[in-house]
Amino acid sequence: MNVPDDLLYTETHEWIRREGENVRVGITDHAQSELTDVVYVELPKMDRQVNAREATAVVESVKAASDIYAPVKGTVVEVNKALEADPGLLNREPFGEGWIFVLKIDDPGDLKQLKDAAAYRQQIG
């Protein structure tokens, strides 16, 4: 299972890419594989303020709906509209074109709570 070294991770299978004051968020290769074919993504509203571990988006597979959580406290500044037309991007390119939203983070120090690739690899065994 692909777990890129340059990303941070949550226990709930989101990945996080630091981009200056922002973080880009998606779900991991492991998560997309567990969810099976993604058929619908409910994106958060722009400018929504979210707390860490708050349900922020919903990913629906053929089988079930799953919440996607904000990794840290912040404000939604970008959402991936391409997922509305092509939710399968989440399965095909979970770390690339399948990103879900971008948060402007309140406190960069919050990122210290997140897992590095080695810790996430250990979690998914």
Binding site: S33, E34, T36, D37, V39, Y40, E42, V58, E60, S61, V62, K63, A64, A65
Partner: protein
């Protein structure tokens, strides 16, 4: 439930070896998908797919009094069955509620094979045992037998490749015993997908041999091993009910729209009085099929159904239909609304999405 307490079918090792994703289903470790639910779904609609159905229960009822007695336990009329023929039917409780839906085959003059839902096998057996007269023999052969469903428009080609060019397929709802590679298997022309198909039953020790032969011979036909995920989307597109979701002990076959499989002209079967009344008075709710009107989120079980602001029912099954590419589902709705063409709303995470009640099946081969 712990992993240790879970049951496995005789094909479990094959599923793991071929990389299936395994889930727990009604106490069984079963493949939910091999590669993709959507791909497996299309393989069955366009070519052929094979499913492990070894978890389903297989009960045998035999003896000179078997037919007469079994006809008091089942809703459909088994007197209509010739040897080698099967029918869809129900076990009801005294309140007319559905204990299980099943297929009963008359495999000999005085012997019947009942293929029941995995999670209900023990309950069904106990139910039958409770009423069984002494001169009827009842056996649960589930642990020693397995089965697969082979479904799709190219099934007949695969059948000939496996059994021989000159061997006839059984006709619809019929079952035959056929020799296969030094053993004997039972082949029934039935299924749960809306495609032409067979279900093949064999001894547990022959399971891997049949499964691997079918996959090998089916390669040229585009066969795919399929999991429970595709089984569910396929059956829902053609509105076949799933026990535990669309059917339950609180629902009777009349409100589920399955009165065709209940013979009220039979003088006596468990649950009959309640069904006679239900038919006379009409049911307060009915099971309908619906399709979402927009490309929004798919409907799911337990979502509420609304007419304007009024809650009129609840979804029992829902998914995104891979064939139609729209959300589809079934729901029990208040009888006055249960007509084709009625516009309804499905509430999904606090928001209402428009849907329309449609004729069953939702998917029809063009």
């Amino acid at each position: 439930m712990s992993q240790a307490a879970q049951k496995t079918t005789p094909l479990y090792e094959e599923h793991v070896r071929r990389g299936a994703k395994i889930i727990s289903f009604g106490g069984w470790l079963m493949p939910v998908q091999y590669t993709s639910i959507v791909e497996e779904h299309h393989a069955v609609r366009n070519n052929v797919g094979i499913f492990d159905i070894s978890h389903m229960g297989q009960l045998l009822v035999s003896g000179p009094a078997a037919r007469g007695w079994l006809n008091t336990m089942l809703t459909n009329n088994i007197n209509k069955l010739e040897v080698g023929q099967g029918q869809y039917t129900f076990f009801l409780n005294e309140d007319g509620g559905i204990i299980d839906d099943l297929i009963v085959y008359r495999i000999e003059e005085q012997k019947f094979l009942l293929v029941v839902n995995a999670a209900r096998t023990d309950e069904d057996f106990a139910w039958l045992e409770r009423y069984r007269p002494k001169d009827v023999d009842l056996k649960n052969r589930s642990a020693n037998f397995g089965g697969v469903a082979v479904q799709g428009p190219r099934m007949a080609e695969l059948f000939r490749a496996l059994f021989g060019e000159n061997v006839n397929l059984p006709t619809r709802n019929h079952i035959v015993d056929l020799p296969f590679d030094g053993t004997s298997v039972s082949v029934a022309r039935t299924g749960y997908t809306g495609e032409d198909g067979v279900e093949v039953f064999f001894r547990a020790e022959d399971a891997a041999k049949f499964w691997n032969s079918a996959l090998e011979e089916g390669k040229a036909l585009g066969i795919k091993p399929c999991g429970l995920g595709a089984r569910d989307t396929l059956r829902l597109e053609v509105c076949y009910p799933l026990n535990g979701s669309d059917l339950s002990p609180e629902r009777n076959p009349i409100e589920a729209g399955l009165g065709f499989f209940v013979d009220l002209t039979k003088p006596n079967f468990i649950g009959r009085e309640v069904l006679v009344k239900a038919k006379e008075n009409g049911s307060p709710e009915k099971l309908v099929a619906f399709r979402m009107q927009t490309k929004g989120p798919p409907p799911r079980p337990h979502y509420s159904v609304f007419d304007d602001g009024n809650r009129i029912g609840e979804v029992t099954s829902g998914t995104l239909s891979p064939s139609l590419n729209y959300g589809i589902g079934m729901a029990y709705v208040s009888a006055p609304y249960a007509t084709i063409g009625t516009r309804i709303d499905i509430e999904i995470r606090g928001q209402k999405f428009p849907a329309i009640i449609e004729k069953k099946p939702l998917y029809k081969k063009s």
